[in-house]
Structure formats: C-alpha cells, structure tokens
Amino acid sequence: MSNTPLKYNPKWIKFRNRAADILIHAALIAVALVFVYPVIRIFSVSIRPGDMLTSDSLAIIPQNATFLSYKKLLADTNFLRWLWNSLIITVSTSVIGVSLASTAAYAFSRFKFPGNKMGLSLLLGTQMIPAGMLLLPLYLMIMKMGLVNTYLGMIIAYSVSSLPFSIWILKGYYDTVPRSLEEAALVDGTTEFGAFYRIVLPLSTPALAIAFLFNFTSAWNEYLVARVVLADSTKYTWTLGLFELQGQFLTQWGMFAAGSILVTVPVLLVFLYSSKWLISGLTLGSVKG
C-alpha cells in the first residue's frame, strides 16, 4: 500500500475527482450567474420605488419593493397597445409565411421539375444578402404605396423574410415522410394535391410548428424594420416602445424594466419549453441532405 504511487491510490483518485467536481460546479455557477444576472437585475429595477431608480444599491429585492412601475406602465403608456400591434403583425406574417412555405417545400420535396435544384440554391443564396441591404428599397416601396405606419406595410416587409429558411426546414421534413403513403392515397382516388393536403400536411405538424415558431420569434423580436416603417407611437410594436422608454433613460427606467420583464418571461418559458424541439428541428433538413 505504502509504495503505490500517489497516482493510483484510490483515496487520492476519489479526492481528486471530488475536487474537480467542486471546481467545475463553482465555475459553472459563476458563469451562470454572469449570464442570468442582467435578467435578475432588470427584475430588481422593475420593483424599485420611484425615488431609487438610479441608486447604486445592488440588492436584488430593494427596500420598499413595489409594483408601481408595472401599474404606471400599463396605465400611462401604450404598452398593451404595443403588445397588441406586435401580436397582430407577427401572427399574420407567420400564417402567411408558413402557408406559402408549406406548399413550395412540398413541390421541392416531391417533384423533379426544371429549376428544382436552382430554386433551392437561390433560396440559400438569399440568406447571404445583408439584412440592411434590402431595407432601403423595401422602405421606399412601402412609402410609395402609402403603407408607411400601417400593419400592412409591416406584414409585407416581414412576410417573406423567413420564407427561404422555412422552405428548407419543411422540405427536409417532407423528405422523411414515406412516399408510399401518398401512393396509397392516390390509388384510393385522391388527387395529387389531395394527397399532399390530406396525408402529408397533417403528418408534418411538428415541422409546421417549428416553422411557425421560427417565423413567429423572428418577427416578434424584430426591431430595425419596425423602426423605419412605423412612425406613430400608437402603431409601435413593443420593441420600438421599449427602446423609446429607455431612450428617455432617467425618467422611464422603471417602466422599461417592467415592460422588459412582462415581455421576456413568456418568451423565455416558450423557448425553454420548445428549445429541445427547436434545435432538433433545425437539423431536420441537414441530416437528410
């Protein structure tokens, strides 16, 4: 026992593993704190009483904690209106985007038509265009059509931005649905479109949900287009509204924090619930090539 080298001594190994474990946990806890701290701090600011908004206290639950900022936010600003605007724009764009993508993806997945390959690579090519590049011509088009400051203008600007990506995801998923199902349906007398509509589409609900979620989040969190198209504060989406609140920093800091919390918590919950799903969904297409 005494002459086994330290390296192979079971007690030493156990101790070493223990120490490594503790170090790793410590490191992870430290990093996790850094990552989550801003969220905690927004929360703590949102429940500060009005006279302490810029104090340098670091306490998470401040003295005299109050929900006054939330009340003020809901009563004095257009916050609910902003949420409603965002919701309307986002749901419409996602519905339009997913329905256009679901049909186009089916064509790419099932048919060999001239331009099939080229269409798919064109779709990838659109992803290379810098986002800021199309903004100016789009804005000028929307302006010329008189759609500045309208939902229509926003929906038009958003509707195809996630289309290429959605088509790729859905195509990847359709490729995994066996063709024999459709053939059976054709034998039973449906049309080709019926086979898609009645057989493939219902089977693809998970992929459709992923595409919808993707469209939804990218439009919901969008800021730059909205900044350009929307000018009137009653038409703002919540991203613009929050930016506005933070712009006049000292007076509105509490309301900004309250609004951030109200927006972030549901988004976080949805994301955490669906993240496993989302990540596997993103690889659906690539695995099948």
């Binding site: 038509f113 600007a157 969190n221």
Partner: protein, 401 residues
C-alpha cells in the same frame, strides 16, 4: 373607431389581398397548364396576362398609382406573354402543373420582396435620391442620373459624419474576428464543462441559454443599461476601487462606457449574447462522440490533453465549421447590437461597423442613393469573403476519412 377593431379590419384586408393574389396566380397557372390544348388558349392567355397585372397592381395600391405605370406594366406583361403562351402550348404541354402551382405564390412573393428590391437598389445607386429630391421623386417618379458618382463617394466621403470607409472595413473585420473567436472559445469551454454526468446539469444548461432565449432587444437594452454611468459595471468598478487602493492605483475606476469605450461595450454585449448558441451546438457535437473512443485512449495511457487534441477536436470539426460559418455571417451583419447601443440621438460612431453605418446612413442621415451604393459594395465584400471561406473550408473537409 375602436383601435382594436380597426386593426382587425386592416389585417383582414391584408389576408384578403394575399388570398386574392394567390387565387389570381393560380388561375393563371391553371389556364396555362391545363388548357393549353384548347383552340382559344393563345388569345385568352395573351389577354389575361395584362389584365392580371392591372388587377394585381390596382388591388395592391388602389388608385394611388399613376395610370402610365399600369400601362407600362400591362404592356410588358403582354410582350412577355407572347413567348410564354407559345412555350406552354408547344414545349411544356401541361407537364409539372402541380409543382409550379405550388411554388408560384412563394416565389412571386420572394421576387417582389427580395429580387425586385435588389434591382431597385442598383437603380438607386446610379441615380440621385436624397432628401432634397425625395419629394419630386415620389410625385413624378423622376430621378437625375449620376453614374458611378456615389460609388466613388463611398470611398471618399464618410457615410456618417467622420469615420471613413476603410476604418469601418477594418473595424468590421476585427469585430467579426474577435466576436466569433470569443464565441467559439466560450462555447467550447462551457460545453466541455457541461459534457459529463453530474447533478444539476439540466439547470445549468437552462440558465446558460438565457441570453440567447431572451428577446434580443430586451437583452441588449438591459445590458446597455448596465454600462451607463450609474449601471452595474460602474458600480462594481467603483466598489473595487474603494475596496483595494492598489487596484484604484492601477486605474480601476468608473468610465464612460457608451461614449469612450463604445466598441468594447458592444463587443462584451455581443459575446454575452452569442456564447449560448455556440455552447448548445458544440454540446450537441460532444454528445455524439462515443464514450468508447475515450475509454480506448485511456487504456492506451493517453492524457486528458491528448484525448482532447486527438479525439475531441477532430470529431467536433464537422459541427463547429458550419456553426462558425453561420456565426461569421451573423456577426458581420449584426446591426442590432450596435444600433441599439449607439443609435440614439448623440450616440457615437466609434463602434459602427459597415452594416450599422449603412443603416444609419440610410435612415438617420437620409442619404438614400449613397447608401444604396454603399450596400452594393458591402454585398460584394461579403460575397468575396464567403467564396474565399468556402474554398478554404473545402480544403479541410477530408478530416472525415
């Protein structure tokens, strides 16, 4: 009228318009694919194309558009329809009806909202659209031709007020490089720490993706708040300085982050935002490496470093390479972080990269034609870099043997 009610009406209009145009397109496709054999096909097709275009334009913009434009569009549609109708009758003969009917709505949308704006951008870049000519342009549609004047100006005149194009270019490359390398390093480190059987793993993972999961606008604005004069970072610096005179002597003291260190602030915020994505991707890659490789290496007496170098790194490469490509394009094109941090009135331009300068030039400074030319130059740069990258990464693809 009740605003909620009004917004619902507006959305119904939109949905109705989209359904209406999809319907018109499908009718057009149906006519061409299914009725090509009929004797009345050619005259009907020739008549239908201009009518279709007129109806679409009118239902899109109502009476706001000038009659001459509709005339031009209808005439163009008629000219294009002559070869198209004969092509359908003699070559296509009804083949591929379903796939084309399925992709038409999506691709017409892409054409109108991506391809047309691209062409329009080129048109703008060689014409003179600025605040002074905007009004006449929107009334009469006339713009003076400038040739390549604006392309030259991009290199000689600042897109904003002081910074030059070359400074922006170098800063963009530096920004992309530093962000992507920190993302990969941070993501790899965290993924390695997480990739073991331990308690609380799920909780760590959940907490660590929070910056990615939050709406980006909230995340950036909240972090921006922490870098303000009275924000968390300065409070901490102040306390550190008080706590240890030695650190204070070294210069640890509150600073004006947003005005004097804007680039560093943006970088810190963007690194914080980007690490979770890399971590999740790399963790997925790590979990797909079979444990047996490591066991075999242990039996052969390999050290941890050797295992990392010879097993982990080569097997992770196929996961990391696409993530890095994606991350590079995202970082290169990242307007959000920089604009949200420095875009308010009085913000500096010390943190601007090419794309954020483009956004500001177009929409803060209203230099329309200038920014069109600027955008085309940026696009060429990005395209060149991507092609180079594709070539380079092809050279390393054979790792998989």
């Amino acid at each position: 009228m009740n605003p909620v009610f009004a917004s619902v009406i507006e959305v119904f209009q939109m949905v109705f318009f989209v359904a209406w145009s999809v319907f018109l397109m499908e009718v057009y496709m149906w006519l061409h694919f299914r009725k090509y054999k009929e004797t009345w096909f050619i005259p009907v097709a020739l008549a239908s194309a201009p009518v279709l275009v007129c109806v679409l334009i009118l239902s899109a913009v109502g009476n706001a558009v000038s009659g001459s434009l509709i005339g031009w569009a209808a005439g163009l549609a008629f000219l294009l329809e002559i070869p198209a109708a004969f092509l359908f009758q003699n070559k296509v003969k009804g083949k591929w009806a379903l796939p084309f009917m399925l992709i038409v709505p999506g691709f017409v949308g892409l054409g109108l909202l991506i391809a047309y704006p691209l062409v329009f951008e080129f048109y703008l870049s060689v014409h003179d659209l600025k605040l002074a000519t905007l009004k006449t342009w929107s009334e009469t549609g006339y713009l003076p031709f400038t040739g390549l004047m604006y392309f030259k100006q991009v290199f000689t005149m600042s897109p904003l007020s002081e910074i030059t194009f070359w400074q922006l270019l170098w800063r963009t490359l530096w920004w992309t490089f530093i962000n992507v390398s920190l993302h990969v390093a941070g993501g790899l480190g965290l993924a390695l720490l997480l990739n073991r059987n331990m308690k609380l793993k799920g909780i760590y993972r959940t907490l660590l993706v929070v910056p990615w999961a939050m709406p980006q606008v909230v995340a950036v604005l909240a972090m921006r708040g922490e870098f303000l004069e009275s924000g968390f970072v300065n409070i901490m610096l102040h306390r550190l300085g008080e706590w240890s005179p030695f650190l204070a002597h070294l210069g640890v003291a509150p600073v004006q982050w947003l005005s004097h260190h804007a680039f560093m602030t943006c970088t810190i915020i963007n690194v914080w935002l980007g690490i979770p994505f890399m971590m999740v991707t790399i963790l997925g890659g790590l979990q797909s490496i079979p444990q047996s490789y490591y066991d075999a290496a242990s039996i052969d007496g390999a050290s941890s470093w050797q295992k990392f170098k010879n097993i982990t790194v080569p097997l992770l490469r196929p996961v990391i390479a696409p993530a890095v490509t994606l991350g590079t394009v995202w970082t290169f094109n990242n307007i959000n972080v920089i604009y949200l941090v420095t875009g308010q009135a009085g913000g500096t331009e010390d943190a601007d990269i090419l794309v954020s300068a483009l956004y500001k030039a177009a929409f803060t400074f209203n230099r329309y034609s200038y920014s069109a030319a600027f955008a085309i130059i940026i696009f060429i740069i990005l395209f060149g870099v991507s092609m180079l990258w594709l070539k380079l990464s092809k050279g390393t693809e054979s790792v998989y043997e």
